[in-house]
Symmetry: C2
Subunit: 478 residues, 2 copies
């Protein structure tokens, strides 16, 4: 594409994106297309001749937009906030425009050094000590896999340089709670530990890991000749944002030589507010920490921040040193290809640089506090409303609730059907989108607050909608 | 950022990117900053208050641009072509603007279905049969790791569901050539096979894997009680674009039950030209194939295309099924989170959609043929020039050459110093950028042709520069 066409279409698409964001609240939050509907609008074969992109805005409206679920909608209460502040859209435009490949320092020094600086900014913002060094990964799933691989290689004294994990005698074991994110078992499986060597420990009434259960499991494994290797602590579980007892876990990890990985994918963003940092007391003793600025903070997907205490260990696990990648600056600089799984790297640091400059630390803090306040407000409403139940504490921005009509009080299957129907009714109305989910066998409606556009009025509207849906359904009649 | 500021800055940055691309040939290809120079221009602490991005274009000029190595420069002959056609810049703008998270079909059906369709288009363009199904990954490194994980789980009959790789009795073994990309040993290490169970087999005079060496290695491993598991074939090695004997490897893989993974990261793009497909004869028997449209084809990093014969196997290795990710459409649609390592996914398919529409298949073919022709031309010049040596066949767009002045004829250390000096002189001049590299102990200058902007005149200019640098250096004097 030549620059003439690029300018014309680029200006058009900037306005298209701005228009989209301005009218986003008019769309149903959740896409209403049926499976196959988007694909059916596209030709089955690629065009032989150049078509150009002259009609692209119209095609985006006709083909793509109906198939979009609007994560930046003010009525977004599903999954987790995945905010793409418009500053990130600009940062991605610059990153793509420069066409940078940041695999080594030399292949674009700015990509590495801006990442060095903004990851250092973020470290300060989180209140982490300078014992930690950061690197950007795509997702927490990848970062957690890296953490377990580093744990495996530390416990096995670099089995990868010899016979691999398959040559180890005594099995290495990984520990987390039964509320750990699905990426934890996935990483344990992929890293070769195997399901038999993964302990997903029971949680307490607040859905946090029980230290006594952990201690017992470790002791039993040691007694059986297995080797405790890694421990994953969730600061903010996915289902309910439960807080694992990190300080106690850190002590236990130190005692047994476990790699301690802290998964603060969502909650990490709240740590930019000093008053929230009690939540991850003990984090300074972690070997690795992951948080996703692409969730609540707003950098736009994908930008996962991974902090480690021992960069040399990470690099030794991840590095390759072929002749064709050596440069004169090796040893003087960070070659970030050696800090993760992929060789190539985009210039993702621009998104963090743009976001922090655009809002300042105080601006970002104010938004986090707004969302915490909105969640606390909703929790209060639920607690005060008869026929409604809150299923978990609300330390952050997620409220787990359900409607319990008197007639269905102790009938879990009926409650499940009823609450699924409530969520479905709200979601179909299109003004809000919540995630129905199971919590230890109980059907709940999970309300995750924190889209950039979500103000108190939107949370109030959701609460009205939930109550309206509940009373409109047959099961609700007393 | 509000839409008013976004429009203003967005229009400004569209023009900034266009201006950058128009003047790109004026920059030295390789950045000239010293380590730490970019970082020193940034504050050591994040701004407390919002600064906004009003000065962003100026900051990009002053801080970022000096630290950019220009992969889209017409004098780009280093590493590999990493083309970002301007259509991809627009696609990324739309992707970021929509702020899509495509982890499940429901979380934005268009992200999944456009990917379904364009990966099908690409499959047809490559001449692959419909036995293959495609998915987009970030990089070939990640795709190759997925391939080895799938191989591991197939050979071990899903050890991940039991005691993991660490519970296996007989070691699983991976095979590739000593010219395999660094991502192959990295993946073998990370997947837990261990260095002792990775055979990097010797290559022939054309730097391709030797079938007899492979056959012997497999036989020896079987005799020793080890289990041959996976075989990686390079269609176009990184150093010289050597072509492993894929058809013979496929036969051997079938005979011994090996997972056959084809790494065509760079060369895969050439397969859109039917006359090049002899290069990967046998590909139809592969279990998995990876190619990077973000290299030579032009989609902009990152977009790696991974094709598999058995999607169910891939999904079984990669899937997790927590309650909070279940949707009503599961079973009817592809949930692409289960086709790779990360859970979250960007809307990368837009880049392929935009690129193919913008250029048409014939336009993309014409560009590939242009680059093949330019490489053949350079190879002819080298062959015809006295004092110059070509170190490998040129089936694609990479020419491996060196200058051999008569005085240094058999003095390898002196030749290395001399050719490093030649490459350094060319690179410092700033009009072209080549990668010096070692090929089986011999220092070479690797010329990788295929940037979008690189026409014959730029290859001619490089050849003049190389010869000029060679005669200007002391070692060249007869």
């Amino acid at each position: 594409m030549d620059t003439h066409d690029f300018r014309r279409l680029g200006h058009e698409l900037i306005d298209w994106v701005a228009d989209y964001r301005e009218r986003i609240a008019e769309y149903p939050v959740m896409s209403r297309v049926r499976p196959g509907e988007v694909a059916a609008k596209l030709p089955a074969e690629p065009p032989r001749r150049a078509e150009g992109l002259a009609t692209i805005s119209a095609d985006l409206e006709r083909i793509v937009l109906p198939g979009i679920t609007h994560w930046n909608h003010p009525g977004w209460f599903a999954y987790f906030p995945s905010n793409t502040d418009l500053s990130s859209v600009l940062a991605d435009l610059v990153s793509s425009g420069l066409g940078v490949q940041g695999m080594s320092w030399q292949t674009s020094p700015a990509a590495t050094e801006v990442e060095d600086v903004v990851m250092e900014w973020l470290r300060q913002m989180l209140g982490l000590s300078d014992a930690f060094t950061g690197v950007i990964h795509d997702t927490a799933s990848t970062a957690t896999l890296c953490a377990l691989l580093c744990a495996r290689e530390r416990s096995s004294n670099f089995s990868q340089d010899r016979g691999g994990l398959q040559a180890e005698e005594a099995p290495l074991v990984v520990y987390a709670s039964d509320q750990a994110h699905s990426s934890v078992p996935k990483a344990a499986h992929l890293a070769g530990f195997g399901a038999d060597n993964l302990r997903l420990l029971e949680t307490d009434d607040d859905h946090a890991l029980r230290l006594d259960a952990l201690e017992t499991a470790v002791r039993e494994d040691v007694a059986a000749g297995r080797r405790p290797c890694a421990l994953v602590a969730a600061v903010g579980t996915t289902a309910t944002t439960a807080l694992d007892p990190l300080a106690g876990m850190a002590q236990l990890a130190a005692r047994h030589g476990l790699w301690l990985h802290v998964d603060a994918a969502l909650a990490g963003t709240a740590m930019i507010c000093p008053e929230q940092r009690w939540m991850w007391e003990g984090v300074e003793r972690a070997d690795s920490v992951v948080l996703n600025p692409h969730k609540w903070m707003g950098t736009g997907f994908d930008l996962s921040a991974y902090y480690v205490r021992d960069p040399e260990h990470l690099v030794r696990v991840m590095s390759t040193d072929p002749s064709y990648l050596r440069t004169a600056q090796d040893g003087l600089v960070r070659n970030l290809r050696d800090w993760g799984i992929p060789l190539g790297r985009r210039f993702r640091a621009l998104k963090l640089w743009f976001l922090i400059r655009e809002h300042g630390v105080e601006g970002l803090q104010a938004r986090v506090r707004r969302d915490l306040g909105n969640a606390a407000w909703l929790a209060e409403q639920v607690d005060a409303a008869s026929g409604w139940q809150r299923l978990a504490p609300v330390p952050l921005q997620t409220v787990c609730l359900r409607h319990v009509p008197p007639a269905l009080q102790d009938d879990e299957p009926a409650l499940a059907v009823h609450n699924l129907a409530v969520a479905d009714r709200v979601n179909r109305a299109g003004r809000s989108y919540v995630t129905p989910s199971l919590l230890k066998g109980r059907q709940m409606i999970r309300v995750s607050i924190g889209a950039l556009a979500t103000e108190r009025e939107h949370v109030e509207a959701l609460w009205r909608e939930l109550r309206g849906a509940a009373v409109a359904l047959p099961g609700a009649r007393p």
